[in-house]
């Protein structure tokens, strides 16, 4: 049992616990904050495993941007302090959720553990450094990467189009149609 093992176990426990709390809490914003802890400690797990870049990108993208957006959206709409009655779920949903979660865990565990139980990696001299990750993404996997970015672009344009459609149906006279890429009211 090395220090690394200890740290990894601690980070993993924190990740799992906060994930559990995030789905069981009745406070909307607390759920988002627990999600934040979960994703952040997941980044910690990556770091412990020697995948520095992945961990940092996880921190930058998920903790720094996505959860901030989630929190922002929550606070902008309705997020009272204290338990939120509307997000209470009936008992059968909870049972179903717990069963599904447990089933997924068991499935993944039974699949991955036999596959990688024998695999070892020297973490002190990591083989996948930042340049190698870059080589892989922009070399070997460049076409899937580009395909993904196109997909995201399509989703972005679609989101803009949908929001414009809604605005038109509401019949705002002074708002002229705007092409994707610029928020409403920004064009002259």
């Amino acid at each position: 049992m090395t220090t690394r093992d200890l740290v990894f176990t601690a980070v993993g426990v924190v990740t799992a616990l906060s994930a559990l709390l995030s789905v069981t809490t009745k406070h909307v914003v607390h759920a988002a904050l627990w999600l934040l802890v979960s994703l952040g400690s997941l980044a910690g797990a990556y770091l412990v495993l020697g995948q520095e870049l992945v961990g940092l990108v996880q921190l930058l993208v998920y903790v720094g941007a996505i959860v901030v957006l989630v929190l922002f959206a929550l606070m902008l709409t309705r997020a009272p302090i204290g338990p939120h009655a509307e997000i209470d779920t009936p008992w059968w949903q909870r049972v179903a959720g717990a069963l599904l979660g447990a089933a997924t865990t068991v499935l993944l565990g039974s699949l991955l553990l036999p596959l990688f139980s024998g695999a070892t990696a020297d973490l002190d001299t990591p083989t996948t450094t930042t340049p190698e990750v870059a080589q892989a993404v922009f070399g070997t996997w460049v076409w899937p990467f580009e395909l993904l970015s196109v997909l995201l672009l399509v989703a972005l344009i679609g989101a803009f189009a949908v929001s414009r459609l809604v605005l038109h149906r509401e019949g705002a006279e002074d708002r002229r149609p705007v092409t994707a890429g610029a928020p409403a009211g920004e064009r002259r």
């Binding site: 941007a65 901030v68 606070m75 997020a79 928020p183």
Partner: protein
């Protein structure tokens, strides 16, 4: 340093970073007191400590410690109490990885640029938590503004830093500063401007202090805070100035490059960072606060295109003249 046992070295480095974290923001704060005062034809603090009020911020700290720590009755207690630390600690981490010279660095991390950007992005969560948990409409409005602002300015900042990393061919701050040469002052100028503006916005410093706007929403997300917790938010702001200034110095001004850089490298970095901090203060004194829509327009209509242009320029430069 390498002769020491690893644990002792870790402790020593941590203590050094903590000391820098406690001293440098006070230095910037005192500079702000004095520079701002003289720019407005005043003297600023003159009494505390005897010589030109040098201990004013120490006295302020003592005052903050003495104050009662109030948590509003309807606030979300734990979130409210945790928020100042969430706001403060990211800057401590960021300061730890910013190198003053190739050898004077708290923790030498491989992808330190990404780390700094990542933890700075986390800092906003403290503001969001504070604003929401205070059970105060002004606080919530301040938090909303802060979040909107930071999400907008994160993008141009990351793009500007990406351009520098591209030019240097590395994600390490030490590597970037070593790859720097004076031509970068021209080549990376648009990126530097974008970075400085975005950094000001991330720090919520005037003219981007819409989230605090004391004439509109009292003090934004920090309205309900008193005593030490409030002081932590203020410390986070000034630590943020230190981090951003040092980062600017390392990324765009060559960090420790200068005469006698073998011995005085750390001093050059500190001096350059201090100059940037003075510029940050200067901008605060000179310019009025921007309106929320102007702020968003600046980010999306000017900074993002400029940052993209810089990225293209850097790419062309790297390809043509490797």
């Amino acid at each position: 340093m390498s002769d020491l046992s690893p644990w002792l070295e870790v402790v020593l480095r941590a203590v050094a970073v903590l000391a820098a974290f406690l001293v440098l923001p006070l230095l910037v704060g005192q500079t702000e007191h004095k520079v701002m005062a003289h720019m407005q034809g005043r003297l600023g603090p003159m009494y505390a400590g005897g010589f030109h009020g040098w201990a004013q911020l120490v006295a302020d700290g003592v005052k903050f410690v003495q104050k009662e720590d109030i948590t509003p009755a309807r606030a979300d207690r734990w979130v409210f109490r945790l928020a100042p630390f969430v706001a403060l600690i990211p800057y401590l981490v960021a300061l730890a990885v910013i190198p003053l010279s190739p050898r004077v660095v708290g923790a030498d991390v491989d992808a330190s640029v990404v780390l700094v950007l990542a933890v700075i992005g986390v800092g906003i969560i403290g503001t969001l938590m504070a604003g929401w948990a205070s059970a105060n409409k002004y606080s919530l409005l301040g938090a909303m503004r802060a979040a909107a602002q930071l999400v907008s300015y994160e993008l141009p900042m990351v793009l500007a830093v990406a351009s520098v990393a591209l030019a240097a061919g590395t994600l390490s701050l030490v590597g970037i500063a070593e790859a720097w040469n004076p031509w970068w002052l021209v080549w990376q100028l648009p990126g530097a401007v974008v970075f400085l503006v975005a950094a000001l916005a991330e720090l919520q410093r005037p003219p981007f202090d819409m989230p605090l706007a004391d004439s509109e929403i009292v003090f934004g997300a920090f309205t309900e805070y008193t005593g030490l917790r409030f002081a932590f938010f203020l410390l986070a702001e000034y630590a943020g100035i230190v981090v951003m200034s040092l980062l600017f110095a390392v990324l765009y001004l060559g960090g420790w490059s200068g005469p006698l850089e073998e011995w005085l490298g750390w001093l050059w970095t500190l001096l350059k960072g201090f100059l940037v901090a003075v510029v940050v203060i200067w901008l605060r004194v000179s310019w009025p606060r921007m309106r929320e829509d102007q702020l968003q327009r600046l980010a999306w209509m000017w900074l993002v295109p400029m940052a993209l242009f810089q990225l293209a320029l850097t790419a062309v430069g790297v390809v043509v003249h490797p």
